[in-house]
Symmetry: D2
Amino acid sequence: MFFASDNAGPAHPKVLEALTIANTGYASGYGADAIMDEVRDGIRTVFEAPRAEAFLVTTGTAANSLILATMSKPWQTVFCSDVAHIHEDECNAPEFFSGGSKLTLVPSPSAKLTPDALRSAILGEENRGVHGPQRGPVSITQATEKGTIYSLEELTAVTAVAKDFGLKTHLDGARFANALVRLGCTPAEMTWKAGIDAVSFGGTKNGLLGVEAVVLFDPETAWEFELRRKRGAHLLSKHRYLSAQMRAYLADDLWLDMARMANARTDRLVAGLRNTSGIEFLFEPEANIIFFSATRGLHRKLHDGGAVYYIMSGELDGDDPEEMLTGRLVCDWSMTEDGVDEFLALFDR
Amino acid sequence: MFFASDNAGPAHPKVLEALTIANTGYASGYGADAIMDEVRDGIRTVFEAPRAEAFLVTTGTAANSLILATMSKPWQTVFCSDVAHIHEDECNAPEFFSGGSKLTLVPSPSAKLTPDALRSAILGEENRGVHGPQRGPVSITQATEKGTIYSLEELTAVTAVAKDFGLKTHLDGARFANALVRLGCTPAEMTWKAGIDAVSFGGTKNGLLGVEAVVLFDPETAWEFELRRKRGAHLLSKHRYLSAQMRAYLADDLWLDMARMANARTDRLVAGLRNTSGIEFLFEPEANIIFFSATRGLHRKLHDGGAVYYIMSGELDGDDPEEMLTGRLVCDWSMTEDGVDEFLALFDR
Amino acid sequence: MFFASDNAGPAHPKVLEALTIANTGYASGYGADAIMDEVRDGIRTVFEAPRAEAFLVTTGTAANSLILATMSKPWQTVFCSDVAHIHEDECNAPEFFSGGSKLTLVPSPSAKLTPDALRSAILGEENRGVHGPQRGPVSITQATEKGTIYSLEELTAVTAVAKDFGLKTHLDGARFANALVRLGCTPAEMTWKAGIDAVSFGGTKNGLLGVEAVVLFDPETAWEFELRRKRGAHLLSKHRYLSAQMRAYLADDLWLDMARMANARTDRLVAGLRNTSGIEFLFEPEANIIFFSATRGLHRKLHDGGAVYYIMSGELDGDDPEEMLTGRLVCDWSMTEDGVDEFLALFDR
Amino acid sequence: MFFASDNAGPAHPKVLEALTIANTGYASGYGADAIMDEVRDGIRTVFEAPRAEAFLVTTGTAANSLILATMSKPWQTVFCSDVAHIHEDECNAPEFFSGGSKLTLVPSPSAKLTPDALRSAILGEENRGVHGPQRGPVSITQATEKGTIYSLEELTAVTAVAKDFGLKTHLDGARFANALVRLGCTPAEMTWKAGIDAVSFGGTKNGLLGVEAVVLFDPETAWEFELRRKRGAHLLSKHRYLSAQMRAYLADDLWLDMARMANARTDRLVAGLRNTSGIEFLFEPEANIIFFSATRGLHRKLHDGGAVYYIMSGELDGDDPEEMLTGRLVCDWSMTEDGVDEFLALFDR
């Protein structure tokens, strides 16, 4: 009953096997390994983007920050949702890597940027000459930090606003696969065909040990990205061990299978919770992460029963058993049906 | 006959096994995994430093830059050898992480800082009020980038100069183990007992997939380091896979065994080369990395024979067969005696 | 009828005289001039703070950014009002000087931080371990960017919240004097007695050519400030010309006289406007800067009549004469009663 | 007998007058004043560069750092002499403004870059892929920090090396005028016709209160420069007072007259010193700054006699009267013949 995070579960056994297979003989370092050539080809194929460039890093924060720094100037501001991971959970990494650019937080009730709110935010900047920050790229998270998912229409409408102002777009795809299999579309449709210029293509939350691919649809930005990656100390010398993970991820659609498994368990969980009283979803659960409101008493019962998940607002150890607290449940690829059922059974105790 | 780099060989099989063993069940992320608790204890034991703090990152550049940034201020200058890795091969990462501090290059003929040269360099700064940079930490590489090794006396003499001026000291230990087993001393003797405040304790060049430990003997610097690590995007979510590597590294002295193997192969190589004409060592070979001078013709013969190593100055494909070029040979733990002998045999063809 | 800005009017003649008087013989540079000694003493006297340190820079942005950088760490966030000058009009200078810290915008309907809103914002950060930004200093503008003024009670209540969390406080006093004479209190009462740790003590908007004093009540922060000032290229070599301005500013309460003149003209203007129909104040006019709403038609009439001021929202050259646009009027020390009356007379045309 | 620095003397009375004349009525701020339009035209005329853009800042460090930041990327290195002001006396400002670029120090015995040494330094970088810093702009100081002057041929030969590698060139002209009148050439000949892309055109050391012009021969870099200037807090609101100084500087060749005065006094001083025993010039005195070696005893006699100048190496208050110490003498425009003669007379006491 471990619903704390999708980075707390194990990696897929095939990924471990891939590491062992890669661990023979010598291989050129720093991204010049032969496996990376396969990975690059694989990503181009998956994204139907033969000119795209792909790079690997070990954290989503690195992928996001390095892409945004490459896309922006330090006197600009990055537009993102007010609950964006790049704002809330990266300890100022975007500001650090960019050399001091700002984030403009766009009010996003369902964690999704809306065209109107984005347009209003963009209009609010770069209208005071050199005095205010200049407009920079737009960063979009899919699936969002709150478990909602942009439809292709919504995504395209948001990037269209960015394009109106000549701004570049970044997709934070820490849960890219979870969104993709839910939408049932292709990676191309969810990225460059929808107006996205660069993607943090997440692997870590979806069964890898720690690899994120950076996909740049504009190859002219690649060299700057490479220099920024090295300068940020994110170019691994024994790079083959990143390549091997990503090759295994793409092989035989393992990445899609794992996302489907995570989503299926989440669906089972949501269905169960809908049959339960005392629970309110704070966002429509569409991916593999659920935010729900319940009384402290109920949260305590669940925790006492052995469920592991985070309380996002308030303290579990407070006085009032009736106070409403927010809980977060995440299913990763390794979550079992039994695990879900066991958790749901706690409600009936 | 692959002598290109000690980050081109495979990881030790025990390290791969450790990953597989660690890959079960759920584990808290971001360094809160139970294996990391063991690693921390292990490092404290190895270094005889019960109050030390230890952290893991995936690259030596990250370890170096984050430590130096934690130790310094952006208006300071870091003192290092003029061939220091932090100067030559990190694409300005130290300047980036520190927010713009300088490096003062101390002339170091054998790649080792000498007390006199260091003192002279330190005296050359912080003598012009606010106009020049202020004195910052001293960074020392052991074994050096050129394969030489500080004796404990030399090391202590260098740190004593730093202490005279109240400056902190950093040890870039990308090849820590290779130096340690050569000196036959303890990790404590080569670090805090010799006046070192913080260590980049290398693992990647010595048989891991990609893990370096940061060892801070002053625990009061730990929290700032942690924040800098996160802000630098170097805190891995599925941290257990770093912890597992480092646990395996320390277990049963695997790290020392691997360094001994690398050094022994280098010794065999050096002994063979000393019996060869046409070769001149540019630095006394003391660790597992050798710089030698030879004619282009000889380098070509070796390459044509299948040897793989870097030409550090000049082009292999030049005209004059008599021009002297510098070659670099590195042995990692996985180098075999046969590999060495096969290479040496090329000279007699 | 020039109401565009208080940095558009002339400097006071006494200030020009002071420059000429200072322009004889040799003087040590970089702040070591004898006049600066007098200025330091003068500021200590004015602020009743014998241990305070004082420094001069040429822009308010430099004063603000250098103080905030000295007070904070790059992984922190600075709390300020959502209309703070440091956020809106400094082109990311605070982020630049701090090395990438964030600004957390506190909703402030009257441009004044309230204790509750500030507390809520502070509680919203530094509650996610290393993941989110850490809490940094609180920056308060007095008089605010919208022409409102904190009472001493309000000011103290805000700084008390900061103190509850151990956070430092900065006062952006670009219009310090205008607020001070309105409150009728002492500089000490409006700063350190009210819980302020450092002040950007404005001179440029109040009759100088271009000098702001930085007043640090904690002298232990002074050396870092000095290094940051030099590194920011804000230490003037012929510093005596800054010192001379500030000495003249403080002499015979010239600074207070100029602020009183600016405020008195604003009062006359406000009184006149209150007798006018078609005008609505967006903020209660308390200092020397007024924001008002009027139809495009009225704004056009005023502009056509020769009034010079900024339209802050919307375009003067739009179609609809009934659309409401925001105008901004600022009186500096040199504004005349005739200028005000002439402007008011435009309404009756 | 004040030879300490050319920023210790007074500003020219015409400059003070210009300030007073400019101090009437209202003027748009932030560089939009009408005087700046005249200054821009004046600079274009003086430099025979109708497309050049010109901006004013208050310190040479700001001019240098902002230009270099505009010309470079944070992962590059700036090539400069090993005694360059940007390296020695700007407290890491170039590294700060550029976001962490490096300076590569080119050995320059007479403080002048030579084509061979520069070429060698350039070849030493950008030859290790992403590992080392990439090649950035070349910064040249004219007149140099040691009082030597590049001939036009020397200057062109140095910039030709930069152009061979496609690198941009910056001229640090803190003593631009002193060099120019010595060479007897035109500003165009000493800048863009000699291959210079941007100039820090000094005024402060040559009779202004504190103004340096930035001249960008490539107008496409202007907007980035403007944003960097604002973000660096170097855009003055009451900009007219900078403009007025620069207008006065250019009017009737005041700037050239002042430089000729400073140089003539230096010539008189050098001629006198050549007739003196016990003095040795460390660099050929060509501009208005002299470095000389003399015994501690002689330095003491001069200081005791009332001469004011800096001892650049060693301590005046040491024991050995025969030890050789380096002194520095600077003449500014206001130095008198009597001042020089009085100083020279001290030698005969």
